[in-house]
């Protein structure tokens, strides 16, 4: 299933905004435009793949400050920076902070469209990853606490016998709990289970 992505364009110049919107429309991309970072922040982002096309020299909050602001708010939307007069330290800072691309105005249309595509792909991947995580988390939460304990020990590399000794149960009981957990996690092999648990584990540790 493919959801139509949205590109958020933030620039203080109305001509630039409308021309970007027009350019993106020619490759079937939908854009929403904002004249400042503030007006973007006042809007609740939709739940579709999206990216930001952003002028570095914004009135009010500057582009780089805005990038930091988004990070603190844990809004992980890919950013394509535009600049009228970009210097190297500025672009380095932007790229280090996770920007997709740093384009100098006026830019080649293909460069912008490529950057937007990369950004959307990155956002899609991020979204898929987040969905997957959310899914795994949900499955993991379905395990009984004893099953979760067993799985953690399996992942840590302990044998069934060692787990049984540790938990003071029979090895056969451990075997049953382990296969039930594999089933609930929809893992077809031990290797897959380990991967899954390792993904969930950081959030498990945090909770």
């Amino acid at each position: 299933m493919s959801v139509a992505p949205v590109i958020f364009v933030i620039d203080d110049d109305p001509s630039v905004r409308s021309s970007l919107k027009f350019l993106l429309s020619t490759v079937g991309l939908q854009a929403e435009t904002f004249d400042s970072a503030d007006s973007f922040l006042h809007k609740k982002p939709p739940d579709v793949p999206s990216c930001l096309v952003l002028d570095v020299r914004l009135p009010g909050l500057s582009g780089l400050d805005f990038q930091r602001e988004l990070a603190t708010r844990n809004i992980r939307i890919p950013i394509v920076f535009l600049t009228g007069h970009g210097d190297i330290p500025m672009s380095v800072r932007a790229m280090k902070a996770g920007a997709v691309e740093f384009l100098t105005k006026p830019f080649r249309d293909q460069d912008l469209l490529d950057a937007v595509r990369v950004a959307l792909d990155r956002d899609r991947a991020r979204r898929e990853q987040e969905n997957e995580m959310w899914d795994l988390r949900r499955r993991f939460d379905c395990l009984t606490s004893r099953e979760q304990e067993v799985v953690s020990m399996v992942v840590a590399g302990m044998l069934n016998k060692q787990i049984a000794a540790e938990l003071g149960t029979a090895e056969s009981t451990v075997k049953v709990q382990r296969s039930r957990a594999m089933e609930k996690m929809q893992a077809s092999s031990l290797a897959e289970l380990i991967k899954m648990i390792e993904k969930v584990k950081p959030s498990k540790d945090a909770s």
């Binding site: 203080d12 630039v16 021309s19 020619t26 020299r57 009228g84 105005k105 249309d109």
Partner: protein, 525 residues
């Protein structure tokens, strides 16, 4: 003295033998004698008689007063005691020669000679004398007038005339005078040296030959206007200098001399060669203009990022719109209505970009200053556009308090823009570090008490600090990367247009920069 004279005459008379007419003759003689005595004794000139040996026979009262001798002292003394030493020999020789030959060597009427007083003082005299023969002997009588005072007055007048003439001839200035009708009647030697004309050639309107042909009509008109109006004369013209046959800028000034009734009787004037001064002035103006231009370029350099942004925005829009159209065209999907809208935007953005460029080019172009009548509010608006992005970027709130009915000012537009831009950028830079209060730049225009147009630029920045009085000094800067020329140049530009520029502290924070310009109507220079 009179008795002695009488007795001496008696002595001469004593040789006459006829006794019949004696009594009558005696009474007539006495009468005549009395008359002469009266004349002689009351005369203000000295009267002195000598015999043919040069000895004094008689001297009157005036002789005593003039020479300082008692009359009795003089009788029998040689006349030469009344002469300075150096004249005595001359007199004796001349006197002896006359007695011998009868030839006169000096004029007997009104001869000017030098005499000697008893106290040794020499003094000028005018002498007239005659001779009388009595008994085969010559008697000479002289009338001697003390001319010291007259001589002194004459000398004084002559000296004062000479001093005046020496003054006009030796003073290192070109001087001239003209009759009431404007015809030149005198030029001093400096004028003749400078122009190479003779005193005769320069007379009347002859001087006009030395005036540059492009200036001669104007100057002739100005001079005749002056002569008829009686107003002080002042005129700049190019004059041919004889020394190197070049035309040089000179200025001539003149004032009229009037009689008691106020009628002009003469004109007195000067000519000054101000060519070198004028050239230096022009060179200075060019240097100042060049410096101002360099400073504008520097300002533009400081604004480079903003300018790039201002140009790039419309260019970006143009490229985007163009690219989008090409894409649609390639896909055979270009709706004419979409194309029309895109093209309209392209044209609008192209115009916008070129307007930015035109503004900047006008600002940095190398052109001589040109004063025109300007609406200062309009110029402030233009500069706000130029600095608009910089203000916007630094989140500065701009307030304008313009008086709508301001008189126009006479100034060079670019220079005025430069001063305003400089002051606005200074204001912005003073506020960049300010985070705790609003950054506000206020621009005010009004008429001050003297009728000048006043502009105030207030900021809420860091203020002038303790070195406020050095702000306008060249190369003084509080900025990390400033040249320290901006305010010095701004001040010289404003003063060059007849105005003033100064700074005061703003309340509660920041600084106010003020400048005035004379209203155009008041000073149409």
């Amino acid at each position: 003295m009179a008795n002695r004279m009488k007795s001496s005459i008696n002595k001469i008379d004593g040789s006459v033998a006829d006794i019949t007419d004696r009594k009558q003759e005696e009474s007539e003689l006495r009468y005549s004698e009395e008359r002469h005595r009266l004349v002689v004794e009351t005369a203000t000139d000295a009267v002195i008689s000598i015999d043919d040996s040069g000895a004094i026979l008689f001297a009157n009262h005036a002789a005593m007063r003039i020479f300082g001798y008692d009359p009795t002292e003089l009788i029998g003394k040689p006349l030469t005691i009344l002469m300075p030493e150096y004249m005595r020999k001359l007199h004796e020789n001349g006197f002896g020669r006359y007695l011998a030959t009868g030839q006169r060597h000096i004029n007997w009427q009104g001869t000017e000679l030098t005499a000697l007083r008893k106290n040794g003082q020499e003094f000028p005299v005018e002498i007239s004398f005659g001779e009388l023969i009595r008994g085969g002997h010559k008697v000479f009588t002289g009338f001697i007038r003390d001319t010291s005072e007259r001589k002194q007055a004459e000398n004084k007048l002559r000296a004062s005339e000479r001093t005046l003439r020496e003054l006009t001839e030796t003073i290192p200035q070109m001087l001239w005078s003209a009759a009431a009708d404007g015809a030149i009647d005198y030029c001093n030697q400096r004028v003749l040296d400078y122009t190479g004309l003779s005193a005769e050639q320069v007379q009347g309107a002859g001087w006009m030959k030395t005036v540059h042909q492009d200036d001669v009509d104007k100057m002739a008109r100005a001079w005749s206007a002056t002569v008829s109006s009686g107003q002080p004369f002042q005129h700049e013209f190019r004059c041919l200098r004889a020394e190197d046959r070049t035309y040089r800028w000179c200025i001539s000034r003149a004032l009229p001399l009037r009689d008691e009734s106020g009628r002009i009787i003469k004109w007195f004037g000067t000519v000054v060669d101000l060519h070198d001064w004028k050239e230096a002035q022009q060179a200075l103006q060019m240097t100042q203009a060049e410096l101002a231009r360099v400073s504008r370029l520097t300002t533009m350099g400081e604004l480079a990022a903003s300018i790039a942004h201002e140009v790039n925005q419309p260019l970006t829009a143009v490229t985007n719109n163009g690219s989008a159209c090409l894409r649609l065209l390639a896909n055979h999907n270009l709706d004419p209505e979409v194309l029309r809208r895109a093209l309209e935007e392209i044209v609008a953005d192209g115009t916008r970009a070129s307007a930015v460029i035109a503004r900047i080019r006008a600002f940095i172009k190398k052109a001589p200053a040109e004063r025109t009548e300007l609406d200062i509010n309009e110029v402030i608006q233009e500069v706000l556009t130029l600095a608009g992005h910089e203000l916007h970027k630094n989140q500065i709130l701009v307030e304008c308090q313009f008086t709508r009915t301001l008189p126009l000012v006479r100034a060079d537009r670019v220079q005025l823009q430069q001063v305003l831009l400089n002051l606005i950028i200074n204001g912005i830079e003073a506020m960049i570090g300010v985070a705790v209060r609003p950054r506000a730049l206020s621009l005010e225009s009004r008429v001050d008490e003297s009728g000048n147009v006043l502009v105030a630029i207030r900021d809420s920045g860091t203020g002038l600090g303790p070195e406020a009085d050095r702000l306008f000094t060249t190369f003084f800067t509080t900025k990390a990367h400033g040249m320290g020329m901006g305010l010095a140049i701004s001040r010289s530009l404003i003063e060059g247009q007849g105005g003033r520029l100064w700074a005061t502290a703003n309340s509660p924070n920041g600084a106010v920069f003020w400048f005035t310009l004379p209203a155009a109507g008041e000073n149409p220079s």
